[in-house]
Symmetry: C2
Subunit: 331 residues, 2 copies
């Protein structure tokens, strides 16, 4: 650890408030206990944090990359990993399976089924497109893909389908309505596919998606500005701590910029201030503060923010109580 006090941390630093993190993990574990939640590690990329989620009773995890699966298995958290993504180089997953991890892979085409077989993967789910223009087969094709997978010797555990196009809708009732439409597609596919898993959902639909057998939420643990606007029962746990390095008459500049924040959802927020500009290592905001002051910026989107940081500092007030490597980065 570089410092015992938050005030001494070199900036920019990704700091996580322990009380808020504990709150978020507890609230989610109460809403979706045990295997009802399959926490998505892509939102924090950190086995230290995943361990807390496991301690809250969640045995299975969702991953987005092979590297995430490898890191989770190496950390002893590989009891039931779902790689919720198509891959063609499945040999690294096969190696994990042979080494004793349980990894289930998403498939949505004959090509990805063949890749799974070739790579030594044993278990798959059929990924079904439920409305987001991304991966997943047409719902009507799910049954025949499951048949093909079984014919090729794979065990088909069920289906998954991510209603990502619904996740950011501001109105909760509209989110629930469109979630139901997506899940009707997934349930029809599940009936054709068989198996025990109907894996779907995310932080934005964790409370309204009552059709999936398990929810793949990740952002709830750290949260971000986008999800904060949705009235969810989770607190902002992650901030990027920055130092004011320059002040002019009408603005100040903090030392955290485009390389400290995922920018696809826009600029980070600074409560009580207006962010004017982000550049590589700077965020300009108004009104100005004193040079040397520390500020805590709220990331607009947590997942690509975490991926820029080497470590998470777990903090309790002004004390740094732990330092976790963000050990699941890269591919």
């Amino acid at each position: 650890m570089n410092a015992d006090r938050v005030a001494d941390l070199p900036t920019p630093a990704l700091v996580v408030d322990r009380a808020a993190l504990d709150h978020n993990i507890e609230v989610m574990a109460a809403a979706l206990p045990g295997d009802r939640l399959r926490p998505h590690v892509k939102a924090h990329k950190c086995t230290g944090l995943a361990r807390r989620q496991a301690a809250a009773g969640h045995r299975g995890f969702t991953c987005a990359t092979i590297r995430e699966c490898e890191g989770m298995a190496a950390a002893g958290l590989g009891a039931d990993l779902l790689l919720a993504n198509e891959v063609l180089d499945a040999g690294r997953i096969g190696a994990l399976v042979r080494a004793g991890a349980r990894v289930t892979l998403a498939v949505d085409s004959a090509e990805t089924i063949e890749a799974a077989v070739r790579g030594g993967v044993r278990e798959v789910v059929v990924d079904v497109n439920v409305g987001l223009p991304r991966c997943g087969c047409r719902p009507a094709d799910a049954g025949s893909l499951a048949e093909l997978a079984r014919a090729r010797g794979l065990s088909v555990r069920g289906v998954m389908g991510y209603e990502g196009h619904v996740m950011a809708l501001g109105d909760a009732a509209e989110r629930a309505r469109r979630c139901r439409l997506s899940m009707e597609l997934l349930l029809a596919a599940a009936a054709d596919v068989g198996g025990e898993l109907i894996s779907a959902g995310g932080t934005g639909t964790h409370d309204c998606n009552t059709w999936a057998t398990e929810i793949q939420a990740g952002s709830y643990a750290l949260m971000d500005a986008q999800y904060n606007r949705q009235g969810l029962p989770f607190r902002q746990a992650a901030h990027v701590l920055a130092t004011v390095v320059s002040s002019a008459a009408r603005w100040s500049v903090a030392d955290a910029g485009l390389k400290a924040f995922g920018m696809d959802h826009g600029d980070p927020e600074l409560p009580g201030a207006r962010v004017r500009l982000c550049s590589d290592e700077h965020t300009t905001f108004a009104p100005p503060r004193r040079v040397g002051e520390r500020v805590r910026l709220v990331p607009a989107h947590i997942d690509p923010t975490v991926a820029y940081h080497e470590r998470i500092y777990l903090c309790d007030g002004d004390k740094v109580v732990d330092c976790w490597p963000v050990d699941l980065r890269g591919w």
Copy 2:
């Protein structure tokens, strides 16, 4: 190295075309030979690449972070580093100076001058605001800050001022006109400050900024979609190589997304296709291609793109000829 052939690289992968890189470095070294260019390492964060720039005759480098200075010094490239940024924890810079590197620090306030003194820094430039709402003192204050710095025992090598608000203007004549306005401010400050350095500029103004004694360009080496629109004499050298992992009737999905691209300048581009959506590990584009095909995406903004990648694969056609760690990431 993970693979000898580009076709075997795990994806996403940051690949750099050797011929295009060599072309860019040569063209820039011809336009701004030797110390007329102080290449900015923030655009590639890679000592392997910096070494090529040094071989082209550039002895001094520009850095944006303390870590970049430390990495450059450790790589033996610390003959004349300019940290073109304000810092308050200057002790790490002082340590580099004591160990034999030459590092000049930007200051723009009494606080940053005191931090430099306290940290054991010996040489500074006065950072002057020339129009971008970011760091830098008012031009009229530059002289008195230089006086203060000298009174505190620092050697003042001159001024710097970044005309970043001009850099992305599409029209070359307008870019040149507004660059001149900024440099008039900087030259006035330089007259008050004294010293030999007038450091400014970037890839977008490398050809029209004839007032600075040295240009801090960085993006020219790898290039990006933003700069490609400006008619500069540099070629797109860096691409993110991705694999098509899923295809539907109207789109395909490649396995590189928000964690493989800086997104502040918008979505990456795929020549011949239309990018529809980027999510954490995916880019959806149309029209669709075959599952398993490889695509090369052009980053919208190179600097925050490179910062996501662990390594740069230097490629010659389908051959991987070198693999450079992106060793200047983090802070």
